[in-house]
Symmetry: C3
Subunit: 681 residues, 3 copies
Amino acid sequence: MRAILNGERLVLGTCYYPEHWPENMWRKDLDRMLASGIEVIRIAEFAWSKIELTEGVFNYDFFDRFLDIVEQTDMKVIFCTPTATPPAWLTKKYPEVLNCDIDGIRYNHGMRRHYNYNSPVYRQLCARIVEKSAAHYAGRRCIIGWQLDNEFNCELDVFYSESDSAAFRVFLEEKYGTLEALNEAWGTVFWNQTYTAWDEICVPRKTPGYVANPHQMLDYFRFVSASARSFAKAQSDIIRRYAKPDDFITTNGMFGNLDNHQMTAESLDFYTYDSYPNFAFCLDVYRDEPESLKDRGWSRNLSEVRSISPAFGIMEQQSGANGSNAGMEAPTPRPGQMTLWTMQSIAHGADFVSYFRWRTSTIGSEIYWHGILDYSGRENRRLRELCDIHKKISCINQIAGSQYEAQTAILTDYDNIWDKQADAWHRRIDDPSRKAFFAAAQRSHTPLDYVFLGHADLEKLRQYKVLIYPHMTIVTKEQADLLTKYVEQGGTLVIGCRSGYKDSSGRCVMEKLPGLLSPLTGTDIPEYSFIAPDAGKVTVSWDGTEFEAEVFADLLAPVGGGEVEGTYTSDYYAGTPALIRKNSGAGKTYYYGSAWNEKSARIFLEKLGAASPFADLAKVPAGCELAVRRKGDKRYLFVLNYESTPAVFTLYKRGTDLYTGKTVTGDITLEGYGTAVIAIE
Amino acid sequence: MRAILNGERLVLGTCYYPEHWPENMWRKDLDRMLASGIEVIRIAEFAWSKIELTEGVFNYDFFDRFLDIVEQTDMKVIFCTPTATPPAWLTKKYPEVLNCDIDGIRYNHGMRRHYNYNSPVYRQLCARIVEKSAAHYAGRRCIIGWQLDNEFNCELDVFYSESDSAAFRVFLEEKYGTLEALNEAWGTVFWNQTYTAWDEICVPRKTPGYVANPHQMLDYFRFVSASARSFAKAQSDIIRRYAKPDDFITTNGMFGNLDNHQMTAESLDFYTYDSYPNFAFCLDVYRDEPESLKDRGWSRNLSEVRSISPAFGIMEQQSGANGSNAGMEAPTPRPGQMTLWTMQSIAHGADFVSYFRWRTSTIGSEIYWHGILDYSGRENRRLRELCDIHKKISCINQIAGSQYEAQTAILTDYDNIWDKQADAWHRRIDDPSRKAFFAAAQRSHTPLDYVFLGHADLEKLRQYKVLIYPHMTIVTKEQADLLTKYVEQGGTLVIGCRSGYKDSSGRCVMEKLPGLLSPLTGTDIPEYSFIAPDAGKVTVSWDGTEFEAEVFADLLAPVGGGEVEGTYTSDYYAGTPALIRKNSGAGKTYYYGSAWNEKSARIFLEKLGAASPFADLAKVPAGCELAVRRKGDKRYLFVLNYESTPAVFTLYKRGTDLYTGKTVTGDITLEGYGTAVIAIE
Amino acid sequence: MRAILNGERLVLGTCYYPEHWPENMWRKDLDRMLASGIEVIRIAEFAWSKIELTEGVFNYDFFDRFLDIVEQTDMKVIFCTPTATPPAWLTKKYPEVLNCDIDGIRYNHGMRRHYNYNSPVYRQLCARIVEKSAAHYAGRRCIIGWQLDNEFNCELDVFYSESDSAAFRVFLEEKYGTLEALNEAWGTVFWNQTYTAWDEICVPRKTPGYVANPHQMLDYFRFVSASARSFAKAQSDIIRRYAKPDDFITTNGMFGNLDNHQMTAESLDFYTYDSYPNFAFCLDVYRDEPESLKDRGWSRNLSEVRSISPAFGIMEQQSGANGSNAGMEAPTPRPGQMTLWTMQSIAHGADFVSYFRWRTSTIGSEIYWHGILDYSGRENRRLRELCDIHKKISCINQIAGSQYEAQTAILTDYDNIWDKQADAWHRRIDDPSRKAFFAAAQRSHTPLDYVFLGHADLEKLRQYKVLIYPHMTIVTKEQADLLTKYVEQGGTLVIGCRSGYKDSSGRCVMEKLPGLLSPLTGTDIPEYSFIAPDAGKVTVSWDGTEFEAEVFADLLAPVGGGEVEGTYTSDYYAGTPALIRKNSGAGKTYYYGSAWNEKSARIFLEKLGAASPFADLAKVPAGCELAVRRKGDKRYLFVLNYESTPAVFTLYKRGTDLYTGKTVTGDITLEGYGTAVIAIE
């Protein structure tokens, strides 16, 4: 079976824990799943002890019995490596496999991800159980794929064990060759940090105030990513040697300090995402802020996942209240929300949606992480909603393999993401600008892609009419050249303040700012400042349109062909250029000296002609998301209502409501949390 | 002397530290105490070094001299074991006696309770000094009783030393016998926590996010309680072998993770409480919230203490500003408050009240924990107030031995208390409901008892017309049977949402909810949810009375004789049953699908006829507490004014104002912070 | 060259890091500095590895080359000892030199000040490099002075390594001689802390709640100060043996737990301060509070520095945005602010101002700690402002050597400062009162000095008409005698609540309060209390003037000549004396029973005739600071406008505007952030 992500049809799955339930329930559960439209189950991701209860003694009886029963049905299986939770005997015997906090204090057995990726003995023990399991099960008929570990870098994405320091040194020696090169890259002459022997170097541990060298931190985040990637690849390489040719390898994310693009390229057939939009409604975090996108904000995550893996799945899709005994308190999804969130995933490109989870666990820290069924397993509202989803899915199967359609993309790259983690000034501008563009795009119905430089070539960039890099702090020569070509060939590029002032080590450049971006942007920055907190509103005028500058002010001057488009109109820099445009070849670049709020982001999208590209197709209220998937000439319009109250949108063309098969046009009403998928010819 | 707690009369005491003061002050202090009405002093609870300054060398000269002087007077003494503060030589030589934090980092000498209960060497050293002291002093004429340690589980009620892990394993092996049974009870199959050797098990230490197995935590809290109890019992057993027959053993509380009922049954003659209502007014915690009960809230603690030990004392009663150099900042009690708080203790059943403390210490962390006298020891307002209290006490001596009168009780039990500590969902509903019932009862003048299941039999339960278990998460068969008998014999039982879904290991049950409570309540719960934080007010209608549901919504359905009394009137579950009544035998049970706020708690008390049982006796303003103690046919009415302004209450019968001996009826005025005790024939 | 701080003229400097920049930039940088008015550079404070890259191998080539180039110009140099940042090889080989947190966890290499002052091996290694460098460079012509280490006690001013505990024992043994004396001073009988061997004593480490013996903490802070002082003196003693006779030794501050007065007396020629008023505008800390003094608040620090070292310099004067990658986010100084803050320093007595720093570093944690020049080194607005400052400085050179003129002083002393750190009750009153007096003095244009008892004799005190010790918790006999003499000889002394209740060990006294201050103040305190948080406003009436009591209420009674001047007019102590005056000899003492807010502080200044001593000279708006420096008969009036908008002040006499040389009188307008220096004959 290769229906998953081959564009043939949409597939539903669920997560199942045979080890949690009496064996005599298994067959009944499988039959009920199949009756509800579930075709695939994921199993065994925390089951190390079910296989190797005693060191070196491997026993597959348990899963043999389970898979035998599975194979009495049409159910298909994704089998997991169990390495996210080492057994108690392992961490007791080999405490060096445990991760530590930044103070060097060990995490203990009892939760998840308490291990480190770099312990040689853990690497060996993992390789052995992966190989044993792959050898034992790879040929099983019901198995269609493998999941590596579970949620790499979830819970913890920083590692401070001795094994990590040792591996960090190896990583650095490979990267730099000499200590001289490392000292130069890290600027260790500052505060007398100069290293004179490799073993003086550690991961960035406790210091006064936990202040660490930012260049070391940037390399450290790269190292954490490389550690996770190599841990994944070791498993993937083993499984590939055993797996049936059509079987896939995947893992589920998406978590920090990990280049998921690179990991997917190296080790996976496709990437899967765990989508829990209900996190927005947890009692302990909910804030009643009208500007918040709440569950709709998960569309941003889905857009980023799409950039990792154009064909992607949802390995864990919310199907009940999420929660933990330790502090997460979410309501049960309301009638319609499970469907809404499923359609959100599909609208953004998922062709496989697997619900977490069939049954709610009666034990452990996740007794409140509800599945479709509650503790008793009785039939319930959510199971009925699943059946309805299955019916809808069956109606829209033709969209499988279609692509999400966006003409505008937000640029990013891992180096800048990680630099931001080590840099409060970078965070202070980048977080609001990214939030602003996403919100402005959502509310103006401007589909957005996220494009990661380093994982995108010129051809990829040229798919977009407009590219926006809000704050490109670190810029490399390759990136500057690539962006220049994009512009010269007709693209429109927008760059915000604080760009181009760091090199790839996170060191500030001594060229005039914005450094490597100066020629492309036609911009010089003689002076810059955070907007003083006592300054009040600082405004910018662009062709008579006024909006508010946000957080920072690069005070600009045009150079080499730059033309002033906007100026500051307040504070001591009133009259100073705030926005410079430079035409290059067939395209143009805008350098904006500030960060964005939602209003200014909306103005940029509109002025650049990027906003509302489907305005001729439909008029959709701000409370609904509009998404379009395209296959060849065919467009599939998704309208998703995140409000509890009904919404009316207007379809300007004729289309087919795929749920009903009826032709529709004009005003169409969605109930609260309602969705529509309309095929446009 | 056995006047303490034998119902003969009320007794006043104080806490004294002879080791803090020059010896030539002792006699004068004792004489001044006696002149002020103090009959008993507690001494020596932090005086290990005064007895065993060098390991194994016991010297009683100091306390011999002090007790010789005491015996020149009529003062009586409660002598303490000194184990709350091990000496410096001890923790230096045997660092394994020190407690650790959850990260495994040791607490050091210099504060209190830095030891653990399970270190074998500490057990030995404690047993030796307790035995030596008991042997030396038990026969002393002036000694009337013994206090074990001081405030068990104060400061720290969690323990993470190696000794604790070792003892935890023994505790578990005794409880479970086999690892299979433990693995089953703890659900260790979840997240691969399965244990294959006893020494893999530890107390729940640092993990990522400090998330721990909730079933392990439940056993851990039981273990902490058992450790403290056995530590206490070891001392009590020794003292019993030496003490004079009439002398009592007690200890002072009340702190967490300790089954005080069981400890009292095993080791004490009665329990004493340390009452500091002035904590409500600390500058660093005070919030100006009109709904807060402030110092009046201590009545809840006193009610819980009453359930531990029907005859109880106050070992430390506030007599000055409380405070610490480290951060606690309280004002001095205003004129009248010392009396008010004393009468609050007595109203709730205390027959012995010992003030903390005679003199304010001039040294150490408690220089701001004021006693009756300030640093200089000069005569002052509080000493004058003590003399006035003594006069009042002499007037009301007849109430000694009378019982607090309540017809309604709130149920609880230790397993659910501890489960709540490990469970954010449990806390989120239980805390507001308990607060709501207490506040509603206080303001409607509905005296409440607290009844701990596991420490109360059917006869005890039948004393109450109405029993309320707000949220009985864990339910055992024995408990369900007991409550069923209570109802069948005519009782009214109220149960709130989220009941019956866990077993005694804290695992969720697979029966339909509310599990074991379903037959008694006539209730089924097909669905449930936290009230979504964006839902606005969710209302319930009960026979036309509307009130607001709180935090959670069990969506109910009647089964097996249940009858719908109330329904939700908002959100997607409008029209769904919210309150079901089932009659059983002579009584009835109510299952309410939500948690309570003060308003809904008041409505329940009123609708069930529990509110204001003394409304025919007196009409008391909401700002005053009404309490009644009864001895035979005689009722003693306490009215306590917690406001700074005068209050008027109306007595509908004739009574005797015990302070004045005059007959009173009709409107009676209390000054700000004023109290009245009226005997009703 | 001895122009620095010899009263000849004002000198400008900057901080330079030759090790950060290519050698071919050095000469150009030096020339640009000189052209901008910079005469002195500070170098080498973090350059250990540039000299001793390998243990024991000293190489001065780098700084030799730099100083050779310096000596081709007129630039002068302050050379630093590099001990604030030990090299990686050192902390790796000798981890005992590292400081620990209170839990005993080591800080690691990578930041600053991760070492402890007491490690014997660190002391040796520091002594060696200081001696080698002094020997090598002392004779250098361009060197005019030395800076010890950098910012002692910055980042961390508490130390918990094993070396610190060992040294603490030595410190205590020297202080107390016997354990008996120590146990008495520390009140160790409280909570059984008694020590029976010296090695049982440690620095105050982790305990439950981190509560520690306050008397031990007081000695601990003294010990930290002594440790830093002796660390400084060891270096100073070495340098003195080598330095040229005219060369000075200094260090830069000002940080906690350090008796800077004593250190200056022992080891320095004068003290320098690092002045960063822009901290007030960091985005992460700024609060829009109209009563806040913001950058103007730095005048308080400058006043305290003036008390340490009447002739002082600014070693680091803000010249750009301050910031850190780890969380500090400040705007760039606005046009004029760099001048404003420079003149603020000079107005308060600085004759040397050295800007931090010439170039903004492109590497490390301080890439956002901007210097005059940005990363590129291009000419910019701040460099232009420096040139303008230089012009202004040249015009006002005559003020060098003049003294700041204040007739009122706030008293303090290190023991009370450190006691406050260990005592929440002390902090709660002292912090607002000190803030209130400073704000009231600023806004009423009442120049203030700070006088540290223990570092000031009677002659010093007699310089002031009014002395205010807001809350003199600890009082010694010597202090009481000194203050009595001050009053008897005509001074006016104001003392606030909570004074005189502790001895020099921080133990409470048993005399009637205010203890040793009772005779001088004519005051008795029969009762006291925090003002209850539910009390509302508590008012005081002084001769018909009403104001609000703050935080605390000592309820007073006059004794021995005291006369009631003010009484409480609310709460239960309405009518009780709140303010008592006693005349002694030619002077008088006021004891006020509460703490101060800005309004009551202003009333005190006014009623005592201390407010606005220069009211006959000029009328200055509240938003401007007025300061006067005097040399002989000549007064230099500084008016500093901290607002962004213009301000007008009125000069009642004729004077010379030193910037312009013109005679001025009457209304004078300052632009936003503008300054004026006017010589009055």
